[in-house]
């Protein structure tokens, strides 16, 4: 979780000659959020539960869309602007299930995985993303 995400490596995990479609989602740290200039984001998690929840989400996507090939990586710790915090790769014979499964996994990870972001801004302030507002990204 502490080294940069290698997308090619994740894609390689799902390679199978029966697949005709690979779908990838990469979440990266944005330079601005709600009008404030972001310096970096500190990601933290309830690690044991996050791992369990993510495993369950992947299993659900596999069942729901019959997608056997799903790879996911989520980083924790301090991430700079432009760095990838999450990458999801799905592959399937056809494109619709690959894209649907990818979308399901990112939506559910954002909804359920116990992971938090502490944004540090250029003006010296910091903010727990979503805390208080309960507003989903």
């Amino acid at each position: 979780m502490s080294r940069p995400i290698d997308i090619q490596e994740l894609v390689a995990e799902v390679i199978d000659h029966s697949n005709g479609a690979t779908s990838v989602f990469v979440g990266t740290v944005r330079s601005t959020n709600e009008g404030k200039e972001v310096l970096m984001i500190e990601y933290s998690a309830y690690e044991a539960m996050a791992a369990k929840e993510i495993e369950q989400i992947v299993d659900e996507a596999a069942d729901k869309y019959h997608v056997r090939h799903i790879a996911l990586e989520h980083r924790l710790g301090e991430l700079a602007i432009g760095e990838a915090s999450i990458a999801i790769v799905t592959a399937h014979e056809r494109r619709a299930p690959a894209i649907d499964a990818m979308r399901y996994v990112i939506e559910e990870v954002k909804r359920r995985a116990p992971i938090w972001k502490l944004e540090h801004y250029a003006d010296g302030s910091r903010n727990w993303v979503n805390a208080g507002t309960g507003q989903a990204k």
Binding site: M49, E53, A113, W128, N130
Partner: protein, 80 residues
């Protein structure tokens, strides 16, 4: 019986603690733990019904606990 209570992110910051041991009565519930925590210094910053996980799964206030359970207070998540 004894349960472990975990706090994360903004909750850990408000309360100034990351975990505690809590002694509760037999057939104590998630709600009992939430009430006990609401008496802690800094707990006013927590919502009245925070999201709770018991042994790494989301739980309800009425769920009955067992000795040794791990109860986690989950702030609004922001992964991805």
């Amino acid at each position: 019986m004894t349960v472990t209570v975990l706090f994360f992110a903004s909750y850990a910051e408000c309360l100034g603690i990351k975990s505690m041991s809590l002694e509760i009565g037999d057939r104590g519930t998630v709600g009992d733990v939430v009430r006990a925590v609401s008496g802690l210094s800094g707990a006013s910053a927590l919502p009245p019904s925070p999201l709770i996980a018991v042994n790494r799964s989301y739980a309800r206030a009425t769920d009955v606990l067992s000795n040794g359970d791990e109860i986690a207070f989950i702030p609004p998540v922001a992964g991805g």
